[in-house]
C-alpha cells in the first residue's frame, strides 16, 4: 500500500501521480478524437446487473418505502454501449468508473476506471492492432515493433506445458497436485465446497503458474480462448471450441479483455440464462439480466469488436508501480 503512514484523509499518491493520470486521460481522448471515435457517457445505475457468476455487482435502492426499485451499479458499460451501437452510433468509447464487490487486492479495487471502446466493422485482430497503436501513442510501446500474439493454446503450452483443449478434468487434477500450490482444499476432497469445473483448473494454472512466469515479460496478446470462457465473444465459425476473445498482458498483469462481439440476440439470451443457472448452482444471489441489450441485438447491431482496458493498471504500467493502490488518490481503504 502507498504511504500507509500518512493520515487517512490525505491522498495516497502525490501530485506527480495525479498529473500523470490526467495526462494519460488527455492523450487517450486525443487518440480517439483523431480517429473519429465518439466519446459517450452511459448510466452507472441500471435495473439489470451482470449475471456473470464470477462478478459480484453492488446494488442499491432508488427510493425508500413500498416502491423500492432495486438498482445495480454497472460492472462495465458494455450493455448500455451496445444499445448505442445498435441505435447506429458507429464507433464509440467511454472512460468511466465501474464497480465490483469483493475485488480488493494489489491489482483490484472495488471501484476502478475502465476505458472501453467499440469499433464498427473491426474484428478482434484489427482491434489488437489499434490497442498497439494506442500504447505507442502513450509511449508505452515502441513504434514499429509488433506486440507478440499467442493463442491461448500456445500460451498454456509454452508456460505451463499442457494443452488446455486436450486435457480432461482428471489430468488437470493430477497436474495441479504436482505443482507447488498450497491449496486450502484439494479439488477432489470433501473440503472443496464447490465442485471444480475444467475452467476453474485453467484459471488456477493461469493465475498461479503462467502469470508469475510472465512477470518480466513484455506486452503479450493472448487470443482464441476456449468457447467455455467466451463471455460475450463470438464463437469461431470454423471451430466451435474457440471463442474470438483476447486479453492483453503486461508483465503477467492483465490489462485488457476484448471480443469480436456476439451480435446474435438468441445466443446472447442463452448465455445470460446459462450464467443465471450457474449462479443458482453456486448459491449466489439472483441477478436480473439486461433485456434491453437482447432487444437491441434483436433489432440488429452491426459487426464490431470491443475491448475493456483497466485504466488504473495502464497507469501502473506507465508509472512502474506494482500495486493499484499506488496510482489512485483514494484507494478503497480511504473512501
Amino acid at each position: 500500500m502507498a504511504n500507509p503512514q500518512t493520515p487517512s484523509w490525505q491522498p495516497a499518491i502525490d501530485l506527480s501521480m495525479l498529473q500523470l493520470r490526467a495526462q494519460l486521460l488527455a492523450r487517450i481522448r486525443t487518440f480517439f478524437a483523431d480517429r473519429q471515435v465518439l466519446e459517450v457517457e452511459t448510466p452507472v445505475l441500471s435495473h439489470a446487473g451482470n449475471p456473470d457468476p464470477y462478478i459480484d455487482s453492488f446494488s442499491c435502492h432508488a427510493a425508500d418505502g413500498n416502491n423500492r426499485q432495486r438498482l445495480f451499479l454497472h460492472t462495465s458499460p458494455e450493455f448500455a454501449m451496445k444499445r448505442l451501437l445498435a441505435a447506429g452510433s458507429g464507433s464509440i468509447y467511454q472512460i468511466c468508473k465501474v464497480f465490483r464487490r469483493e475485488e480488493q487486492g494489489s491489482l483490484h479495487n472495488p471501484e476502478f476506471t475502465m476505458l472501453e471502446w467499440y469499433r464498427s466493422g473491426f474484428d478482434h485482430q484489427q482491434l489488437m492492432d489499434e490497442i498497439q497503436a494506442l500504447l505507442v501513442a502513450l509511449d508505452l510501446h515502441e513504434q514499429g515493433t509488433a506486440i507478440r500474439r499467442l493463442s491461448y493454446r500456445q500460451w498454456f503450452l509454452d508456460y505451463a506445458g499442457l494443452d488446455p483443449f486436450a486435457v480432461d478434468q482428471a489430468q488437470l487434477l493430477d497436474y495441479v497436485r504436482m505443482q507447488q500450490i498450497s491449496l486450502h482444499a484439494d479439488p477432489d476432497q470433501d473440503l472443496a465446497q464447490q465442485p471444480w469445473l475444467k475452467d476453474d483448473y485453467l484459471a488456477l494454472i493461469q493465475t498461479h503458474i503462467i502469470e508469475p512466469k510472465m512477470s518480466d515479460a513484455d506486452l503479450l496478446f493472448v487470443y482464441d480462448f476456449p468457447a467455455s470462457q467466451a463471455s460475450l465473444a463470438r464463437i469461431r465459425d470454423d471451430d466451435p471450441n474457440v471463442a474470438e476473445r483476447f486479453e492483453l498482458y503486461a508483465g503477467g498483469i492483465e490489462l485488457a479483455n476484448g471480443f469480436n462481439e456476439l451480435t446474435d440476440a438468441h445466443e446472447q439470451h442463452q448465455r445470460f440464462l446459462q450464467e443465471q443457472a450457474q449462479r443458482e448452482r453456486k448459491g449466489l444471489n439472483k441477478v436480473p439480466f439486461d433485456q434491453y441489450v437482447i432487444d437491441a441485438l434483436t433489432a440488429g447491431m452491426e459487426a464490431c469488436a470491443g475491448v475493456a482496458l483497466g485504466f488504473d493498471r495502464l497507469l501502473m504500467l506507465a508509472a512502474k508501480k506494482s500495486s493499484i493502490q499506488e496510482v489512485m488518490p483514494f484507494p478503497f481503504e480511504r473512501v
Binding site: 464447490q194 471444480w196 453456486k282
Partner: protein, 174 residues
Amino acid sequence: MLDNDPYVIVENDIVKPGKGQAFNRVKVRNLKTGRVIDRTFKSGESVEAADVIDTDMQYLYSDGEFWHFMDPDSYEQIAASEAAVADAAKWLKEQDTCAVTLWNGVPLSVTPPNFVELEITETDPGLKGDTSGGGGKPATLSTGAVVRVPLFIQIGEMIKVDTRTAEYVGRVKD
C-alpha cells in the same frame, strides 16, 4: 481455523483471470507456533472462525509449571503454560495487568504491559558521580530479566523498563 489450529490472516490478495474463477492467496500465521504459511483459497470457500479473543487479566503468581492469571471483572482464574507465556515470563510482576490471548478459553499467548517497574536485585557497584549513563552495565531484575542500566543505578532501586525493546527507561522515584 486451519488443520485444527488457530491462524491469523497476515496478508490476503485476490488473483483473478480476466474472466472466471478468482482465488485468494493468503498468508496466515499460526497462533500457536508463530509460523507463517501460504494458502490458496478458491473464492467462496469458507473456514471455521477461530474463537480467539484478547483480554486484559491480572497476573497472580507462578507455581513453576503454570502462570496464573485472573479476570478482574469475574475473578475467574486461568493457568497459562510455559509455551503460552514464553518470553513474557521475564517481565511478569504480580498484580500487573497483561493482555492474554485466549483460544476457546485457553491461553495462547501473554503480552506483558509495555512498561513495567521492577527492582534491581543484582548489579556491579556503580561509580560515584557518574550521572550521564554513558556506557552502562548489566543489571538483573527481580523477575530474572537482565537489562543494561546506567552506571549510577544501585541494587534495591526500582527502574522502569520498556518490555518491547528490553530497554531501561528511567528510575522510579517514590
